[in-house]
């Protein structure tokens, strides 16, 4: 690299080429190195040319050369990217003060450095001020929506936070809607997201750490935890994993997830994602960490055990009995979604004696005209269901009804009429589909969809034995999984009875007086015990 730089500099000196030409010939890394090499000289002409060259003369880059109204000997360059800054704010906080007389009896600046300091200390009032000494820093903050002010003769710049751009407002989360509970979801702006967490958790122990990941995208990634509740090992581990990412682009939290998850080849997700601030806050209070990525409303929660994929934040807002019942329903739904077609295939193909005679006769009568084996039929229908689902998500909204008509009529009705599939199989597949959508976390739903097919093939070849073998293989895999050091099947295996209060069932809140013990010496007391509400003793 250093050699390259030398060559580059040599080229510039020898042939006297302009900066712009030089940049346009170089590849990405050469430009990076070149920018790093260049420094601010204090000559506005030069600075403008450098910045312009680095951005390749992009039209959204705006330069404004002004003279300080208080002392027209001093020249000022204001530089920003159009569209990333709030124009009103810019005019009011930066351009306005530069172009007006000094408001009160401030000493008139004579030297450029004096004017520069005066600008920073009292004249300009952008919210956050950041000194930039290097060209690279200036370019970086420009891309983040800062306005940078340079003064002729000073080899430094001041960057003011005047960001303002169009963004989605806080809306109800679309993928995790709840009947009862807060209706606001995370948005793409990480600052808004951290503010939502702060508004829920008032304690100053809620700490954020910000990292910049992505060599090209320079995406802000925020690690959030509650100091004193999350174990230090966990925080350290999360920080280490995040810092070890070196990649050019991060567009979504899925990118982060793939670089920090424990088992990259597992079909099961080992990080939980959510759009709901209340869920993230709840996780923080259980001693977990939250990773907020710029540009996506989905935040990551770690560690995420298997049981947490069956929980919805609504469970804690409804009463204990109903929530426990709903969790049970979700567990059964997940099991059905994973195995129902397999059981159907196995029983109709190998174990007809398990069904009562009238039922098996009726199924046999339906299957009479069907030319395929049950496994073929099932795979055909399951695949067509997956197709329908995928098409339903991707296609333009206006054609939505068409596809559902085609799906319902052609696949459901006509295929049965034509004798291609039996109606019992259609019922099984439809039931499986409904069950699969009862899972509150989409990534887990997809994993289950994926695992269904191998188990179906096993069922078609070895009957219930095959199903059992398939499930055992899944079980062994799950037992081997860990998520940030926590066994994935906890608290069911290894058995931790106190945590069963909030796993398969949801015990009343006043019973859950201790936080889940994530191997920590940390604060584990959630509430005073003995808070069961009682009627007044008369």
């Amino acid at each position: 690299m250093r050699f390259l730089l030398k060559v580059l500099r040599g080229i510039r000196r020898r042939r006297g080429r302009t900066l712009k030409q030089l940049v346009s010939d170089a590849d990405y890394h050469e430009i990076e190195a070149y920018i790093e090499q260049e420094s601010l000289t204090g000559k506005l002409e030069n600075t403008e040319a450098l910045i312009k060259a680095a951005f390749g003369g992009s039209p959204d880059l705006v330069f404004r050369r002004m003279r300080l109204a208080a002392n027209d000997q001093i020249e000022v360059l204001v530089c920003y990217i159009d569209g990333l800054v709030d124009m009103h704010l810019l005019a009011e906080a930066i351009l306005g003060p530069i172009g007006s007389e000094l408001p009160f009896d401030l000493p008139l600046p004579a030297a450029p450095k004096g004017a520069y300091d005066l600008l920073g200390q009292s004249l300009l009032h952008g919210a956050a001020l950041q000194e930039v000494d290097e060209l690279g820093d200036a370019l970086k903050v420009l891309s983040k929506g800062f306005a940078v002010v340079f003064v002729e003769g000073v080899a430094q710049g001041q960057a003011y936070a005047v960001q303002g751009w169009v963004e989605r407002s806080v809306e109800e989360p679309t993928t995790e809607s709840a009947v009862r509970g807060p209706k606001q979801g995370f948005v793409e702006n990480p600052r808004v997201n951290t503010s939502m967490l702060r508004r829920i958790i008032g304690a100053p122990e809620l700490w954020f750490e910000e990292l910049e990941i992505g060599g090209v995208t320079k995406t802000k990634v925020t690690l959030a935890y509650i100091k004193g509740i999350a174990s230090n090992d966990l925080i350290e581990e999360a920080r280490r994993r995040l810092q070890s990412i070196t990649v050019d682009a991060v567009f979504e939290s899925g990118y982060i997830e793939e670089y920090i998850e424990d088992a990259p080849f597992s079909p099961f997700p080992t990080l939980l994602r959510t759009e709901r601030p209340d869920k993230a806050a709840g996780s923080l209070l259980e001693g977990r960490i939250v990773i907020i990525t710029e540009g996506t409303p989905f935040v990551l929660i770690a560690p995420a055990v298997f049981a947490s994929f069956l929980m919805a934040s609504e469970d804690y807002y409804e009463r204990s009995w109903t929530s426990s019942f709903l969790r049970l329903v979700r567990i059964i739904a997940m099991f059905i979604s994973l195995t129902l077609p397999s059981f159907y295939i196995a029983i109709t193909t190998f174990h007809q004696e398990m069904l009562p005679t009238p039922l098996i006769l009726s199924i046999a009568a339906q299957r009479e005209g069907v030319p395929f084996a049950a496994i073929v039929e099932a795979i055909f229908l399951e695949l067509s269901f997956e197709l329908l689902r995928e098409a339903g998500i991707r296609l333009p909204k206006v054609v939505g009804p068409a596809i559902s008509i085609v799906g319902a009529l052609v696949l459901g009705e006509a295929a049965v009429q034509a004798g291609l599939v039996s109606s019992a199989m259609v019922i099984v597949v439809a039931f499986t589909a409904i069950a699969s959508f009862a899972s509150p976390i989409w990534s887990m739903t997809l994993s289950v969809h994926l695992l269904r097919f191998p188990i179906m093939i096993l069922a078609g070849s070895l009957g219930l034995f095959g199903v059992v073998m398939g499930l055992s293989a899944v079980l062994i895999h799950l037992s081997a999984l860990r998520t940030f050091g926590v066994p994935y099947l906890e608290p069911f295996s290894p058995v931790i009875f106190p945590q069963w209060k909030d796993a398969g069932i949801r015990a009343p809140l006043w019973m859950m007086d201790v936080r889940p013990n994530r191997k920590s010496e940390q604060d584990r007391i959630r509430e005073e015990p003995e808070q069961k509400p009682r009627p007044p003793q008369s």
């Binding site: 398990m354 070895l462 073998m469 079980l475 062994i476 037992s479 066994p487 069911f492 295996s493 290894p494």
Partner: protein, 374 residues
């Protein structure tokens, strides 16, 4: 030693593994019904044999406590000397291999005879062994965690199985007690005791237990709980089948066949068979783990995981020719063949190690060694 198996298990996991190991033994073979003539007194034999197993298991824990942090393979070398000790360890490993092969072969045979007669035995044996070898590669922790879930499933299914045939039970079949006399009962109890020699795996598991002090209590609980299940199972089989019990070969399986539940599901024999299969898988994985660890310790290997698949393949081959048929299996389960073998392996060898160790004063040096390691 610590380098070979890095995992640790807690006492709950030890409990589940031991209960599964013992329950699967009785679900697989029911010698008290088929191989002896005591018939309806089988539950008394179950109670007596459970107390025998209890004493014996406590002895195993006791001897393990004398050699802290060591498996039987290691302390047999310490006590009997490198060569004789290795020989004893190797015999125990062979016994584990045989038990593992027998378990998986019986399970596969149950599928072949009852559910899928045209599928070769190899398919079942191979798949179960492949999965358990897979679990062994994951280490003891994976094995224990999978075992916990399997334990839950098995216990639920087994309990359902013991309750559902309630309408077919006639408790008069339990009478008269001790019709065949004490001598037959003694024989039956001893035979029943020999069925649980797989418990010898305790001597391999103990060094990996987190809370060493709870070892004896955990083992005792596991023995008692499984004993209660076996006794209840014996009673249920007797009162359900009455005079037919001498023909009952796989008791749990036959019970399932009788069940019809609310006109939805009939002939639930597949349900015990499922419990049975996953339980056999865990038991086999545990034994396989013992074999792999033992081999690694005998030959001073640096890593044990690599042995899982080869030894698994050996077990598959062994399980295919271990029996020439159902009759052969029945004949094998008797005091004269299996009984002698298992008493030799399970009782004589540990006792020998204990006595020789006591005479040679190996306990003190072992305790010192253990203290040094800590």
């Amino acid at each position: 030693m610590a380098g070979l198996e890095k995992g640790k298990i807690n006492s709950k996991q030890l409990f589940t593994l031991l209960v599964l190991t013992r329950l699967i033994a009785i679900l697989l073979d029911a010698p008290t019904f088929s191989a002896t003539s005591i018939g309806h007194d089988a539950w008394i034999a179950a109670v007596i044999s459970t107390s025998m197993v209890l004493v014996w298991a406590c002895f195993l824990v006791h001897i393990g406590g004398k050699f802290p942090g060591m498996t039987i393979i290691e302390y047999s070398q310490l006590v009997l000397g490198p060569w004789l000790g290795r020989l004893a360890g190797f015999l125990i490993i062979l016994f584990f291999i045989q038990e593992s092969a027998r378990a998986v072969s019986v399970c596969g045979a149950a599928y072949v005879t009852a559910v899928m007669p045209e599928t070769p035995l190899l398919v079942f044996v191979l798949m179960i062994t492949f999965l358990s070898a897979n679990a062994v590669r994951g280490g003891l922790e994976v094995l224990a965690r999978a075992g916990t879930i399997v334990f839950g499933v098995t216990i639920i299914l087994l309990t359902a199985l013991l309750i559902l045939p309630l309408n077919k039970m006639d408790f008069n079949y339990l009478r008269p007690m001790l019709a065949e006399g004490w001598r037959e009962l003694q024989k039956a109890s001893l035979l029943s005791f020999t069925m649980y020699t797989d418990y010898l795996i305790i001597t391999m598991l103990l060094p990996y237990l987190e809370n060493q002090k709870s070892a004896a209590r955990t083992v005792a609980y596991a023995t008692l709980v499984s004993g209660v299940f076996i006794a209840v199972l014996s009673i249920v089989v007797v009162v359900t089948f009455g005079p037919l019990i001498s023909y009952v070969n796989l008791p749990a399986f036959s019970l399932g066949r009788l069940v019809d539940f609310a006109l939805i599901i009939e002939r639930l024999e597949i349900i015990p068979l499922i419990a049975f299969t996953v339980g056999t898988g865990v038991k086999q994985a545990l034994l396989l783990w013992g074999v792999v660890l033992g081999l690694a310790q005998i030959f001073n290997l640096k890593e044990m995981q690599a042995l899982a698949y080869p030894v698994g393949l050996l077990i598959v081959a062994f399980s295919l020719w271990i029996f020439h048929g159902a009759l052969d299996k029945l004949n094998f389960i008797s005091l004269r063949s299996f009984g002698i073998l298992s008493i030799l392996m399970g009782v004589v060898i540990p006792l020998l190690i204990y006595i020789v160790g006591w005479i040679r004063g190996s306990f003190a040096s072992a305790a010192k060694k253990g203290a040094d390691r800590d």
